[in-house]
Symmetry: C2
Subunit: 337 residues, 2 copies
């Protein structure tokens, strides 16, 4: 074990957590961690006043609970630096990261990125590097990626509805400028989440895990918006089911182009998994219905570009991406069509 990791273990008190983005995802995981006795600080935007006064209410398939008091902040400058900064924004808000992430980092902080898509840890690493180059001393910041298998919605101010699942797949971001240590922090964070009742799976290959998640996200998120359909409708119509499969095959081809081998059987596993789900409105469909921007860069564009840079075209994914860009722009420019 490296000396940095030993230092980390020798800290007698528990890790402190910052939740950057107290929405359906960040609010749920943060509340679970606080409920398990950990110190959690929440950056809250639209419903700050309500959360500060009334805390958070989690209506969950695993049992409802209420936190009457939470550490809520509307301004990151009032937040304490934390051991673990959880990035729980939508990726469409990542332009805010320099402003909200850097102020809460301290010596040996860990950034845990709980977002979908590709290229996000690289983005966080670049933000931190630029910060260091500009003369700030924030020590060694480790970056961990987490893929959340969670169905939850924010249904009101400080009110989160947890519908199903919750598992997080954690993986270490491999970056030349980092040396060792992450595996140990990852285990401690995993223990904290598990103590809060969140199942954790550790991945030795974060990039592979991210591409595997895209096997689900690209067809279902994309088609749910374009065809205005639930997962169940997509699975029961033979034509959309065929298209789902063909899109999944293209994701596998994209993954293979960057040396991530996903076995063919994984497609059948995802289909079977989706057949057994409750009819589900995907997160992208919810964003669309709420007229929020869609996470197209992280989920679609970065995947297409990664494959394209290796000379591989993914034409059906590209077709879907272009349709989504059209719909996304119209959705946010015309309040009434």
């Amino acid at each position: 074990m490296s000396s940095a990791a030993l230092n980390f273990f020798n800290v007698t008190k528990n890790l402190t957590y910052a939740i950057l983005g107290t929405g359906a995802l960040g609010g749920f995981y943060g509340a679970k961690l606080q409920q398990a006795g950990l110190e959690v600080h929440f950056l809250v935007r639209s419903d700050y006043e309500s959360v500060r006064r009334n805390g958070l209410f989690v209506e969950s398939v695993d049992g409802d609970f209420r936190l009457n008091r939470v550490n809520a902040y509307c301004d990151v400058r009032n937040m304490p630096a934390c051991d673990v900064a959880i990035v729980a924004l939508k990726t469409t808000q990542n332009h805010l990261l320099p402003d909200i992430l850097l102020p809460i980092l301290k010596e040996n902080s860990t950034v845990l990125v709980l977002q979908n898509g590709l290229g996000i840890e690289e983005e966080v690493a670049a933000i931190i590097d630029r910060y260091k180059v500009s003369g700030h001393k924030i020590g060694e910041t480790k970056i961990i990626g987490g893929l959340c298998f969670l169905c939850s919605n924010k249904v009101g101010d400080g009110h989160i509805r947890h519908l199903a699942y919750g598992k997080i797949n954690l993986g270490e971001h491999k970056n030349n400028s980092q040396h060792g240590g992450i595996a140990d922090e990852m285990q401690i964070i995993a223990n904290d989440f598990e103590s809060a009742g969140i199942p954790i799976e550790l991945s030795s290959d974060l990039l592979l895990a991210r591409w595997k998640k895209l096997v689900w996200n690209i067809p279902y998120n994309g088609l749910s918006v374009v065809l205005d359909a639930t997962t169940e409708e997509l699975m029961t119509n033979p034509n959309s089911l065929e298209l789902v499969k063909e899109l999944m095959h293209e994701v596998l081809r994209g993954a293979k182009s960057v040396e991530c081998d996903i076995p063919l059987e994984f497609i059948e596993t995802m289909l079977e998994h989706t057949r057994n789900m409750h009819p589900y409105r995907t997160s992208m469909k919810i964003d669309y219905d709420e007229k929020r921007p869609l996470e197209l860069t992280a989920i679609f564009s970065n995947a297409l570009q990664a494959a394209f840079s290796r000379g591989v075209n993914l034409p059906k994914i590209r077709c879907l991406y272009q349709q989504l860009q059209f719909l996304d722009l119209r959705n946010r420019t015309n309040a009434v069509k």
Copy 2:
């Protein structure tokens, strides 16, 4: 000139026309022919009573006109055999063709197919061949394909609104079982249409002309339904415009696979043409909005299959086709979603 063609020319009276399907297209062209003094017989379905009593009203950019009396039939068995049978149904109704086409054919009739898509003349030829094999004597039936560049809607009983264009591109169906003669009939029919104010272009290669029409129909008909968009919206959003272009390139690849060479510049011509059009709801979008079945077999499936049979995949067109199949089925099964 062949003797069959001479016979054709020697007929002293004008050709008689049967319009099979008195909708936005058949009603328009049939009314124009009758207005020019030709004998026209209309097979009318839903608005038969109204058309029989009140005739047809054509509200047209080229000048409105009313035909107070037309030869209207609700049952093809009451129609006289005609020299030219104009197939003006939607291709989704082509299962009716054996019943409505064969009874009105006579010695040396010509079938003029005014429909979109591929494989339709072959379908008509097969129907006629089966009829002959079963012992019926109907002489030599010639088949001509016609591609209509027409914007018109049926807006009420016997009421057609002609918005723009109207040109027909005529081409001979090449079939081994036919020998000569068509070129002459095509010229006579072309003269009749031109006397009625319909611009006619004669194509020496019908298959090429049909693929060229698909360069427009596949992207605009398809995307107008999937994205709920007018042609203008598709042209002004950069992402949908890019997708339109990429779909057009795939049509060119499909055409090339069956030895139809469409020059690359044709794409820019189609784009420019569409930019200069009025914002237009495509015929497929109108069908969708009216909850009618979409012409997916003729326009999409037959094109995909023709290319596939030559080993060429058209993945974006296939993606669009699968989406349209999903939407078409849902549109007609759920009256209210």
